[in-house]
């Protein structure tokens, strides 16, 4: 059964681009437009979310808030979370690490780099670039 990845970004372009790359590699993709939307969707979804890819700067609830909320939830305390942000400063990476992110990718990025990062957490057999 394909693994499910949640993509959280307020940019529809990024959601579409990331979803295309992931679906093309055999993953199921669920998207959310901000942290609040992600929490609502995760809490009502019947299937398990195996990995979360999130932006940082988003309205309502930003990426840091989302990661904190997920880490406080027993079910998602160990779910891999990849930050996808155009913030290319060490401060942001340190903060991301402190709130519990597993990895950090700086935008813009190549789809191959994203898939490589995903393959570190999800079974490699699923990823075919």
């Amino acid at each position: 059964m394909p693994q499910t990845i949640m993509v959280v970004d307020d940019s529809t372009t990024v959601v579409k681009f990331v979803s295309f790359s992931l679906k093309n590699s055999g993953f199921l993709v669920v998207s959310a437009c901000d942290g609040m939307d992600a929490i609502e969707k995760i809490s009502t979804m019947s299937e398990n979310v195996d990995l979360v890819i999130t932006d940082l700067n988003m309205p309502n609830l930003d990426g840091y808030g989302l990661i904190l909320a997920l880490r406080e939830n027993e079910k998602h305390s160990r779910t891999p979370i990849i930050i996808l942000s155009s913030e290319d400063r060490e401060d942001d990476r340190i903060r991301g690490m402190e709130v519990g992110a597993s990895s950090y990718l700086v935008k813009p990025f190549k789809s191959s780099l994203l898939l490589n990062e995903v393959s570190k957490y999800l079974t490699k057999e699923e990823v075919t670039t």
């Binding site: 307020d10 940019s11 372009t13 990024v14 681009f17 295309f20 790359s21 901000d34 940082l56 700067n57 988003m58 309205p59 930003d62 942000s85 155009s86 913030e87 290319d88 400063r89 060490e90 990476r93 690490m97 992110a101 597993s102 990895s103 950090y104 990718l105 700086v106 935008k107 813009p108 990025f109 190549k110 789809s111 780099l113």
Partner: protein, 198 residues
């Protein structure tokens, strides 16, 4: 004949009121100075962001056009190749067909990779949207400050932007440092940093 003491007291009161008014005006002008200085600093930042948008949009579009040009060229070669296959098949030249098919498969793979790189380049939309949001936020901030100055100068308090109005304008999610080309850190360095914590 007015009482000199009363007149003296009256003059003292008037001078005191005048001094208070002058102090008040000076204080208001001092308050106005900060927004003007801040606005002066923000205009070049907003201009820089807009220049960046123009430059980066052009570069990304150029990259995509180059790829599209190559795809179109390859498609034309592909069509020509298919016509040749048809001719070879009609003449029963089967040995000629296999290498031609291999070359067409290679072209199709390259086209697929080019399509993916066009998608990569399309991320410029997200980056420039953030740059535009940053520039817009700076402009809104300048507008708020100018309204405040205008309100103070005209004594028209309705011109002064309310706190709620000001906060509502700040509800924009963007990264002020978003840049299409200026990546400072290598991904492996970031990975090492995150691996170190685990």
């Amino acid at each position: 004949m007015p009482n000199p003491d009363a007149l003296h007291k009256k003059i003292q009161e008037e001078v005191s009121l005048l001094a208070d008014s002058i102090n008040d005006i000076v204080k208001k002008f001092r308050e106005l100075n900060n927004p003007i200085d801040e606005s002066k600093e923000q205009v070049p930042i907003a201009t820089e962001q807009l220049d960046k948008i123009s430059e980066q949009t052009e570069a990304a579009t150029q990259r995509m056009l180059d790829k599209v040009e190559k795809i179109v060229e390859r498609e034309e070669e592909g069509i020509a190749g298919l016509k040749r296959i048809k001719d070879y098949a009609a003449k029963n030249h089967w040995d000629e067909i296999a290498p031609l098919v291999d070359s067409l498969i290679e072209k199709a793979d390259t086209t697929c990779a080019d399509a993916l790189s066009i998608m990569d380049a399309l991320q410029f939309q997200d980056i420039t949207a953030q740059q535009m949001n940053h520039a817009a936020a700076l402009m809104e901030d300048i507008e708020t400050k100018l309204k405040r100055i205008s309100g103070v100068l005209q004594g028209d308090m309705s011109q002064i932007v309310s706190q709620e109005e000001e906060e509502a304008k700040k509800d924009r999610a963007y990264d002020p440092h978003a840049d299409l080309f200026d990546k400072k850190t290598d991904q492996s360095a970031i990975d090492d940093m995150f691996a170190g914590k685990q």
